[in-house]
Amino acid sequence: MIDASVQLAGVTSPILLWIPFMEPAGIPFSYLVLLLPLVLAVSYAYKAIKIEHVDGLAREGLVLSGQILFFMALAAAALWMMTDLW
């Protein structure tokens, strides 16, 4: 009888044998980068439902993404000032 942790380590693969979706991806860059696809997806899904004519969908989605990112950065800066500078 082997310990469960040893067994798990045995059946899971090292990083070179990583299988997408089956195992979590080790992300080498900052997790904040993932904010960008999240904001884009939310913006475009919202605009696809909201706008009347789809002609301006690409531009309006980008504008909304920019606005969300801008105000998130603004809120982050304000919170940083409140916590670190005061």
């Binding site: 310990d3 469960a4 067994q7 195992e23 979590p24 991806a25 939310v42 475009y44 899904a45 969908l57």
Partner: protein, 242 residues
């Protein structure tokens, strides 16, 4: 041709199965494609970052859970309700449950024959994967709700002068919803309608009270309700009379 209610229900089910499919079925193909790309893209990104173990109906309590112990003691995960708003999450969840670590450790000779198990994710990867898949589900709910108001393309959009973009004026109701073909178009987009006064919308304005009226009710002639400015003038006039 299906009636409007059946079309809406079929479109909603199609959207649950594949985001954007309901809009596609109703003829709004650009909207459907954008919804498919954004919602499924987010869902797939969540699975890629966290692995399929992020879709779990039970929340992890501690390291014991990761070893496959104390599974019955785990609480239900709130995130799973959001994730299940995209139907492929249920398939992934079934697959995940089938490939979890066994309750009891296997003997080495048994472990060799055991199919590859799912590696649980931890920390940021787990949280982001769960967040992305749940947000994809909530966006899909938004798309499903939108289908309640949206008429097939070519009905709401083709009318000359219509500006509704295929948006039905009133929500789906089993008792009061007339056919999409008979619903007159409102006086503007939903954005505009929310800002439009009742007088501007005129007889086509739909209030919640209107939904209570059955389709057999005779239409009552309506006067344009007073706007905010008209009400203020009326109030001033009454004050002057007083």
């Amino acid at each position: 041709m299906l009636p409007a209610e059946m079309r809406s229900v079929a479109a909603i089910v199609a959207t649950w199965v594949l985001p954007g499919a309901g809009h596609w079925l109703l003829g709004h193909r650009v909207r459907g494609s954008v919804l498919l790309a954004s919602i499924m893209g987010l869902w797939l990104l969540g699975l890629l970052v966290g692995g399929i173990s992020v879709i779990d109906h039970l929340k992890p309590l501690d390291e014991e859970w990761r070893m496959g112990r104390d599974r019955p003691t785990r609480a239900r995960s709130f995130w799973y309700y959001g994730q299940s708003l995209v139907a492929p999450s249920l398939v992934v969840h079934r697959f995940h449950m089938a490939r979890q670590a066994p309750e009891q450790p296997l003997a080495p000779e048994e472990a060799i024959d055991e199919p590859r198990m799912v590696m649980p994710s931890f920390a940021h990867g787990y949280e982001l994967g769960q967040l992305f898949t749940a947000i994809a589900g909530i966006l899909n709910l938004l798309a499903m709700i939108d289908l309640l108001w949206r008429v097939p393309a070519g009905k709401g959009q083709a009318a000359p002068g219509s500006t509704t973009g295929g948006v039905r004026r009133r929500p789906l109701s089993s008792t009061s919803l007339p056919s999409a073909d008979t619903v007159p178009e409102a006086a503007g987009t939903r954005d505009q309608r929310s800002q439009t006064t009742q007088a501007e919308a005129g007889q086509e304005h739909v209030s919640p009270k209107d939904d209570e009226v059955g389709p057999t009710s005779a239409p009552k002639p309506q006067e344009p309700p007073p706007t905010g400015e008209a009400q203020a003038n009326e109030q001033r006039r009454r004050e002057g009379e007083a």
